[in-house]
């Protein structure tokens, strides 16, 4: 009784993910989600009371999945620079494949800071642990003693921004889809080099945070 090609609740969630990721809360239509899930609209309300709750469920699942992926890389025992490379490769493997995900998360939290902050905190994942791990590796492997938050945000920025701002960048610089794909591919090597160079600067010159 629970399975017809996939149980209904899962089909709804999958459809809701797709639609919310691409259109955000305001752009998404309950009818579109229902159609995509091959069910009647009324069923959405049967399973998830209303649009807001369905959205929050999608946000919760999406955030925890992404956090887990990032955590896997960052909390492993690889050397720091391998992690930076691994992070650069998260790219086509997760972020680019789900290129709307980051933008979805960013926009969602812009729109609903309080409610979604609570959801994040209810999850067991604690990204602050990532920072501790990085700080330790910076000290042990490179002899640098600094607050790793800027470093971590720099890495996130270099990886995520080009994907999120992709259509804007393409328009500004008149890049075809092919050229843009090549550009993003190049960044898998560019980012670790850029990042590594920046870190070497800190090794010599241990001033500034």
């Amino acid at each position: 009784m629970e399975n017809n090609a996939q149980n209904t609740e899962d089909r709804i969630l999958e459809a809701a993910r797709t639609v919310f990721h691409r259109k955000g809360f305001n752009g998404a239509r309950m009818q579109e989600i229902a159609t995509l899930a091959n069910i009647n609209k009324a069923l959405l309300y049967y399973y998830f009371r209303n649009k807001e709750l369905l959205f929050e469920r999608v946000f919760n699942d999406t955030f925890s999945q992404l956090a887990a992926k990032i955590g896997d890389i960052l909390m492993s025992d690889m050397p720091l620079m391998s992690k930076v490379e691994g992070f650069g490769n998260l790219y086509p493997n997760f972020i680019s494949e789900h290129s709307y995900v980051m933008q979805f998360l960013i926009n969602a939290l812009q729109d609903r800071p309080e409610r979604l902050r609570d959801i994040i905190m209810k999850q067991n994942i604690n990204p602050c642990l990532f920072l501790e791990k990085i700080k330790k590796q910076l000290r042990d492997e490179m002899g640098i003693d600094m607050d790793p938050l800027h470093l971590y945000v720099n890495l996130l920025a270099l990886v995520i921004f080009p994907v999120v701002a992709r259509p804007l960048l393409q328009s500004i610089f008149s890049l075809s889809d092919e050229k843009m794909a090549m550009f993003l591919e190049e960044r898998k090597t560019i980012i670790p080099v850029f990042f590594n160079n920046a870190m070497k600067g800190y090794e010599k010159d241990k001033s500034l945070v």
Copy 2:
């Protein structure tokens, strides 16, 4: 006959900018724009036929303003590293003051790539000129001969991402508004140092793009 505290069309545009920047196309309500402009809703349609056209007008104005600001810095005759600093300071002075602007542009182009691409191209501003200028300065000032696109995108990423993803970052790392403001302020010095270090790496090691 054209002026009552400010002519009506301008008041509408100012209100529309505010609302569209903060809520995007789907989140914005014509009534909210009318109320903010202190006029009747029907007048919106008198001046700008429909919501779509009003939105596109706002996009056009916003993009050209931002491009002009960036162009002022990048096309000036300052040395390259001063520009990087100047760019880092664009921050509280333009981007952070209008912190929704970048996100607005990114989302707008994600939603309406074709239509808005045309609008961008109709403007006389050509950001590709920025790249030529940077390429020349890289060669003349630092003896580095490389495609400046990655470099430019790196700089944009470091500057823009933390502002755009601010609420997400605050939630993830449990940063209060005060701590976050301080963090962003710190980046004004962090970014030029980070960037400068990365460039020094290229001076020694002129392999890779």
